[in-house]
Each structure stands twice: as structure tokens, then as C-alpha cells.
């Protein structure tokens, strides 16, 4: 039986581990409910802003700040999805952290002693689950944009530009989620993964590093996400989308490779 069959079996087992954890489902439900609530809360003001779009096609989402309606509404939708990216590494930390409860890692390595195969399987399974959650988040954002704009432009929410923005969000959600997974495995616990995520988030959101050194800020995963997804005309960004995508790809690649090396070299204790 080939190595590919072994990888497929390991991925299947890892996916079963994810979907049979009650805490993973609870966290997923909380994240989706939170997104629904935020979107629902903003629906009234967004609908009012759309109703007041001028004949010149400008909108005031923020009072006193007129801007082209189409671009502004698409940015609003992507930003709505983007804020949920903060929670996906926490979900990934819960997924990976189960290995360090009741010494499950021993049982896992007895079943899949090849460390490289195990890391690949974990990555694929977690990426699959995170993709499903991210797609649901994107669908909620699309639905609420449609609800706000259907009287003005019913095709806006499903336009190529809108779907392109959500595709960027999906990539960001999965890639940053995998970084959370890697930090949890490296730190050998859910809290380590959540802690690392919080530190990276705080560094980006406080804009502290961006003020001191934009080049360094551009190397942070969430900053790279902002640089990839947000409109430079409306936001202060630390790099362009191409370097941002490279940074986003490098983070999971480097941290997951480190996870494989550490698992290979260290005892499973």
C-alpha cells in the first residue's frame, strides 16, 4: 500500500478527531453567531446609507465621509469578514490542543509514527475544516450585503469583485488558522496557541509596530492580511498585496515545518 494511501488514512483520522470534539463545534457556533449578530446589528445603518446614495453614486457609510458607493460597500463586506479572521486561529488552537489533553499525542504517534506524515495530515484536515467555517462566514457577509443593497444593485453581493474579496478572506482565514495550529503544536498546548495569536493580533491592531517600522509590521500575518484585503485609499497599509501574499504563505510554511522538525527531534512527552 502506497505512501499516499497512508497520508489519506491519516487525514481522515485527523478530520474525525476534529469533528468529534464538542468544544470545536461550540467554538464554531460562537464564531458564526457573533458574525451573524454583528452583521445584523449593522444592517439597518447600512441599508439607510444605501437608500441615501446620491445620483453621483456616492455613499456616506461614515457620516461626513462620502465615497464611491460600489467600492465602499465591497470594502465594508470584506472588512466584516476580515474581523472574524481573529477568531479562526483560536479555533485551530482548540483543534491542535486536543493532542496535549489526556496524553493523546502518545496515542496519535502510536497510530502515525511518521512525524512528517502526521503534520501533513493535521494541516490538510485543519485547513479543510477552517475552509468550511470561513465559507460560512463569507456567505453570511454576502447575504447581509445583499440584504442592504438589493433595492439599489441586487447583483453587487455576488459580483466578481465581491467574490474576489471573499476569496482573499478565505485564503487569509485558512493561512492564519494554520499558524495558530502550528503555534499550539510548538507550544504543546491550546493556551500557547491562543497566546501567540493574541500577541500577533495585538501587534497588528495597536499599529504600534506599523508606526515604528512599517517594514517589520508588514511581516506580521494579520498585517499582511490587512495589506492583502483592505483598500489602501481608506486604510493605512504597510505593504502592497503581492508581498502580503508571500508573507501570508511563508508564515504557515515556516511554522508548520518547524512543528515537523520539533516533533521529529523531541520525545513525545
Amino acid at each position: 500500500m502506497g505512501a499516499l494511501a497512508a497520508v489519506r488514512a491519516s487525514v481522515r483520522a485527523e478530520f474525525t478527531k476534529i469533528i468529534t470534539m464538542r468544544s470545536v463545534w461550540i467554538a464554531t457556533a460562537v464564531i458564526l453567531a457573533l458574525h451573524l449578530l454583528i452583521q445584523r446589528a449593522n444592517l439597518g445603518s447600512n441599508t439607510a446609507a444605501v437608500t441615501a446614495i446620491t445620483p453621483q453614486g456616492t455613499i456616506e457609510i461614515f457620516t461626513g465621509d462620502p465615497e464611491p458607493a460600489r467600492g465602499a460597500l465591497l470594502d465594508l463586506m470584506v472588512a466584516g469578514s476580515f474581523q472574524m479572521v481573529l477568531f479562526l486561529p483560536v479555533l485551530a488552537a482548540l483543534i491542535a490542543g486536543q493532542e496535549f489533553r489526556s496524553r493523546q499525542l502518545d496515542r496519535t504517534l502510536l497510530a502515525v509514527p511518521h512525524r512528517g506524515r502526521l503534520v501533513i495530515a493535521k494541516t490538510i484536515a485543519a485547513a479543510g475544516f477552517l475552509t468550511v467555517v470561513a465559507v460560512l462566514i463569507a456567505m453570511i457577509s454576502i447575504f447581509f450585503l445583499y440584504a442592504a443593497t438589493r433595492a439599489w444593485d441586487p447583483g453587487l453581493a455576488t459580483s466578481a469583485d465581491a467574490l474576489c474579496g471573499q476569496a482573499g478572506f478565505l485564503a487569509l482565514a485558512v493561512l492564519t488558522g494554520l499558524v495558530g495550529l502550528a503555534f499550539t503544536m510548538l507550544g504543546r498546548g491550546t493556551l500557547a496557541g491562543i497566546g501567540a495569536t493574541v500577541v500577533l493580533t495585538v501587534l497588528t491592531m495597536t499599529r504600534l509596530l506599523a508606526r515604528l517600522s512599517p517594514a517589520l509590521d508588514a511581516m506580521l500575518p494579520l498585517s499582511a492580511g490587512r495589506n492583502l484585503l483592505l483598500n489602501p485609499a481608506q486604510n493605512t497599509l504597510s505593504s502592497g498585496p503581492a508581498p502580503a501574499l508571500i508573507v501570508l504563505l511563508l508564515w504557515p510554511l515556516v511554522t508548520l515545518t518547524a512543528t515537523g522538525i520539533v516533533l521529529y527531534r523531541q520525545d513525545a512527552r
Partner: protein, 230 residues
């Protein structure tokens, strides 16, 4: 067959396992005895690819455990303390283990039946008693119908009926021509089950032979053991 040769494990200046070597043959139950901290678990963890030896080899049918593609079909192991995540149902715990080694799903029900947990299959592992947790661990070891069983303290937490059941299970396994390595600190249990005995103390093998050879000149395995580790 299990062949351990010159196995050594050091943590800095401390040597936990020192040049350990022994062979576990098919068709026999080999008891692996030693006081707490003697190096039993560390030896088993190196055999099962969980810990890296500083030097030496531990081979299963001539191969390292880490090199087995679907190891659970060859080796079934119960490790002291390694259990299921409390919030996961027992049946789901065994299902992911089976999937990882392409073991048919029907086998999950079979082993649950065999260890007497069929009625508690959908309970969460956290609700299990110590004895039920131990049975679940044994079920995981039996999943791949392996030729080799490695059991670390298998009777911990079991009631007398459970202890008797483990005894008959390992006997049946060995009588079927399979290999059983049983780590324990319980002398009377080991004396009742084992054909061969390996005694480890302070990280070194102090006796290795048939039960008769090790207990020769002593009233019991227990008295032989205490003299050997003194």
C-alpha cells in the same frame, strides 16, 4: 519478535536506561518487571518510537516502530496514562484510531464487544471509570488484530473479574503464537501469566530468562525480585 539491543536513554547527566537488551519471543508472554522509576516505561516508549534512544536499537520484526506504515496492524500497545480526550465518545476515539491505519470500521464494534464496553460505546470517555478507561485502552491495542501486544500496567484500575479477563486475553494471544510483552510491578499477577521474565532496576537489566530460571532458588517471583533489585 521484539529485539532490544544496547538501548540507552540519558537526560543530561542522568541515565534512565543503560545498555538494555533482551528479546521477546512469539508464543510466549514476557513479563517486564521493575520498581517505579526503574526505566520500564522509558524502554517501552523507545520501543514504540515515542522517545528517542541515546544509543541502541529496538526492533519489531527487524524494523523500527517508526518505519511501520500501518503499525497498529503489527503492534497493539497500551501505555500507562495515554487515554482518550474526555469530551470524545469512546466509539469516536476508536474510530479515528482505526481510520489512521485503514482498519475496517466494523472492527471498532468487535473490540468494544470484546472488552465489554459495547453498551457504553456512545458515552464520553470522561464519564468512564478507571476500569472502563483501561478497557478502552486495551480495545485500542486490539483494534488492528496485531501479532504483538505491548501492555504497560494493563490491570491498573481493573476489578478482579477484569484482571482475570486480561490474564486469559494475554494467555490466548500467546497460545495463538503471538508475542506479548507485559510491563508490571505486580509480582503475583506476572507470576500467574508470564512464561519469561525480564527484570530492570536503576535502568539496567538484572535478570532475563524463563520464569523458572529467574525464580530458581527462591520461594516466589516476589522474593526473587526483591533480591535482584536490592
Amino acid at each position: 519478535m521484539i529485539e532490544i539491543t544496547g538501548l540507552t536513554k540519558g537526560y543530561g547527566a542522568t541515565v534512565a536506561v543503560d545498555d538494555v537488551g533482551f528479546t521477546v519471543r512469539p508464543g510466549r508472554v514476557t513479563g517486564f518487571l521493575g520498581p517505579n522509576g526503574a526505566g520500564k516505561s522509558t524502554t517501552l516508549r523507545m520501543l514504540l518510537g515515542l522517545d528517542h534512544p541515546t544509543s541502541g536499537t529496538a526492533l519489531i520484526h527487524g524494523r523500527r516502530y517508526r518505519d511501520l506504515r500501518f503499525p497498529l496492524r503489527t503492534v497493539g500497545a497500551l501505555l500507562d496514562g495515554a487515554g482518550a480526550v474526555p469530551e470524545r465518545r469512546a466509539i469516536d476515539h476508536l474510530t479515528w484510531i482505526a481510520q489512521s491505519n485503514r482498519i475496517p470500521r466494523g472492527r471498532v464494534r468487535e473490540v468494544l464487544d470484546r472488552v465489554g464496553l459495547a453498551d457504553a460505546a456512545t458515552q464520553r470517555a470522561g464519564r468512564y471509570s478507571l476500569g472502563m478507561t483501561q478497557r478502552l485502552g486495551i480495545a485500542a491495542a486490539l483494534l488492528g488484530d496485531p501479532e504483538i501486544l505491548v501492555l504497560d500496567e494493563p490491570v491498573n484500575g481493573l476489578d478482579p473479574q477484569g484482571i482475570r479477563w486480561v490474564r486469559s486475553l494475554v494467555r490466548e494471544y500467546a497460545d495463538d503464537g503471538r508475542t506479548v510483552l507485559l510491563s508490571s510491578h505486580l509480582m503475583s499477577e506476572t507470576a500467574d501469566i508470564a512464561d519469561d521474565v525480564v527484570v530492570i532496576a536503576r535502568g539496567r537489566i538484572v535478570a532475563d530468562g524463563t520464569l523458572e530460571q529467574v525464580t530458581a532458588g527462591h520461594d516466589s517471583l516476589e522474593s526473587a525480585f526483591f533480591e535482584l533489585i536490592a
